[in-house]
């Protein structure tokens, strides 16, 4: 990849890829929330 436009497209693609972080964080939050709810339920 040597064309300037292709490289700019690569920069844009890498920037868009960072949006995945939001979903990945949400997955982690949901799992932790399930663990906490399970704890509350089991220790009632």
């Amino acid at each position: 990849m040597s064309d300037v436009q292709d490289q700019q497209a690569e920069i844009d693609s890498d920037r868009r890829a960072e949006r995945r972080l939001v979903w990945q964080a949400l997955v982690a939050i949901v799992v932790v929330a399930v663990l906490v709810v399970l704890r509350e339920w089991l220790t009632r």
Binding site: I11, D14, Q24, A28, V31, L35
Partner: protein, 494 residues
């Protein structure tokens, strides 16, 4: 209320505070990880542009005959204009075939591969680098300098993905994701692979968001010529943490340091616990030296740099002082147990609920950041704190589980057994570091076949904490600052 009552109350408050302080590193880590999603918006890609400055790559090499040929060959395959690339190997008086390998490549690629020979070597990596940097600064050809290690393998697009950030004139240096790349992975390298996910593509993204980067990876640091000249045209040689010192000095002079998680390079990491310990002890001692040297920076916000921010300071010290926090939590819990065992139990459960939630969030999040490492190292991700700590965490999270489990195997939870388990759990928080030191000792004996099972039992996290503690001790005893080379075999995948 008698004086004894007042003294008892004060002591209880101090002990509770010690336990609560034990949760600080976990809370800071949680805050740090919660900052990562903001990298979706707060990143440097908006200011990045396609750019191909004339890059000199400097590779310090001492007896790197096994790896240097492959490293140069892979650099020659970089997707980067060849007339804008110069690969300079600074041969630190090697006694193996390093000079022959480099001269062979230099003959085949004249003007691109350069062999720089130091006849008197052995002073360490920073001195070797400085020899090369001095020579490169003698003419105007170099516009940017890439510092790397002899065993690091660059992907074709790695350099291009780093240079694009230099389009922003405020940037002084760029670093990439150094990924564990051993062709044959074992438990130690898998633990390291995941540790690098935590320390690099997780933590450095958060540092990009906060606006202060802790360290340019030694195997992938790209500097502008202006930055290098502002640093005095040389890398620091007074500490064992030359990479971190360079990172700090760059930012202290008002230049940005950028981490690009998509610029990936592969490195072979120590395959044994003993080799890892020696490498990390050097890093740890360097960090002790740097922490003391930077005493006028911490928690003093500046308009010039972000190193003095509260967020960066908390992040730095929560890792740097982790052994102290762990020892403090153990002392607090055992002291509380002697005062009031019920209060100790509540404090212990509260501590582990906070730590457990922060740990679970960090691990689940980080495991997704590099899906391949997540797949290869799932056991090491799960057992990062060790089986014992994991059991303690689960039991603290779900009180009564231990009693129920014991009843399933016909063991009754007597008061004596309860007290023994409680005290052992309280002590384990700090004793895990001693156990980790013990595992390293086992790795130096003929019983090293026990290292891996013991490592899973004790955990990799406690090993890192124990090395940090050993670094405090080594610096306090002013042991010789010897630069020790990590042995490499050249078996890197990819």
């Amino acid at each position: 209320m008698t004086i004894a009552d007042v003294a008892g109350t004060i002591l209880a408050v101090v002990l509770v505070a010690l336990v609560a302080a034990g949760a600080v590193p976990a809370l800071v880590a949680l805050f740090h990880f919660l900052a990562i999603p903001f990298h979706a918006w707060r990143n440097h890609y908006g200011k990045a542009r396609p750019m191909a400055p004339r890059v000199a790559i400097v590779i310090p090499a001492w007896n790197e005959g096994l790896v240097i040929g492959t490293t140069i060959d892979r650099l020659l395959q970089l997707d980067y204009p060849k007339d804008r690339l110069r690969i300079c190997v600074v041969d630190d008086a090697s006694t193996d075939d390093t000079p022959d390998v480099v001269r062979d490549r230099a003959a085949r690629h004249p003007g691109v591969v350069v062999h720089m020979r130091r006849e008197q070597g052995g002073e360490g990596k920073a001195h070797t680098l400085n020899h090369g940097i001095r020579m490169l600064l003698e003419d105007d050809w170099m516009e940017a300098l890439l510092i790397m290690d002899a065993d690091v393998i660059y992907r074709r697009d790695s350099l291009r993905k780093m240079t694009r950030h230099l389009a922003d004139p405020e940037v002084g240096a760029v670093t990439g994701y150094v990924r564990e790349g051993s062709a044959t992975k074992n438990a130690v390298t898998r633990f390291i692979a995941f540790e690098y996910v935590l320390a690099q593509i997780a933590s450095r993204r958060a540092q990009n968001v906060v606006g202060a980067v802790a360290c340019l990876a030694g195997g992938a640091q790209l500097h502008t010529r202006e930055n290098l000249e502002a640093l005095g045209g040389a890398i620091d040689t007074t500490t064992l943490a030359e990479d971190t010192v360079t990172t700090f000095e760059t930012q202290l002079r008002g230049r940005k340091v950028v981490f690009d998680p998509h610029a990936v390079v592969l490195a072979e990491e120590p395959p044994s616990l003993d080799a890892l310990w020696r490498q990390r002890l050097r890093w740890g001692r360097g960090n002790v030296q740097l922490t003391i040297r930077s005493r006028r920076i911490w928690f003093r916000p500046s308009r010039i740099h972000g190193l003095g921010s509260l967020a960066f300071g908390l992040s730095w010290f929560s890792v740097f002082l982790l052994p102290a926090f762990m020892i403090g939590a153990s002392i607090g819990l055992i002291g509380l147990y002697l005062l009031d065992s019920d209060l100790a139990a509540v404090a212990f459960r509260s501590l582990w609920v906070v730590v457990g939630c922060a740990y679970a969030f960090s691990m689940i999040f980080a495991a997704q950041l590099d899906a391949e490492i997540g797949r290869i190292a799932w056991r090491e991700i799960l057992l990062f704190p060790g089986i014992i700590s994991l059991v303690v965490m689960v039991v603290a999270f779900y009180p009564g589980l231990d009693g129920w489990l014991l009843s399933q195997v016909g063991v009754e939870m007597t008061p004596t057994l309860r007290a023994t388990l409680d005290l052992a759990s309280y002590a384990w928080i700090s004793m895990s570091m001693l156990a980790a030191w013990g595992v390293r000792q086992v790795d130096r004996t003929r019983a090293r076949w026990l290292t891996v099972p013991l490592l899973y039992l004790v955990g990799f996290g406690p090993v890192l904490c124990a090395v940090t503690f050993a670094a405090y001790v080594a610096e306090a005893r002013r042991l010789d600052r010897v630069w020790e080379k990590t042995e490499k075999t050249g078996r890197v995948a990819g």
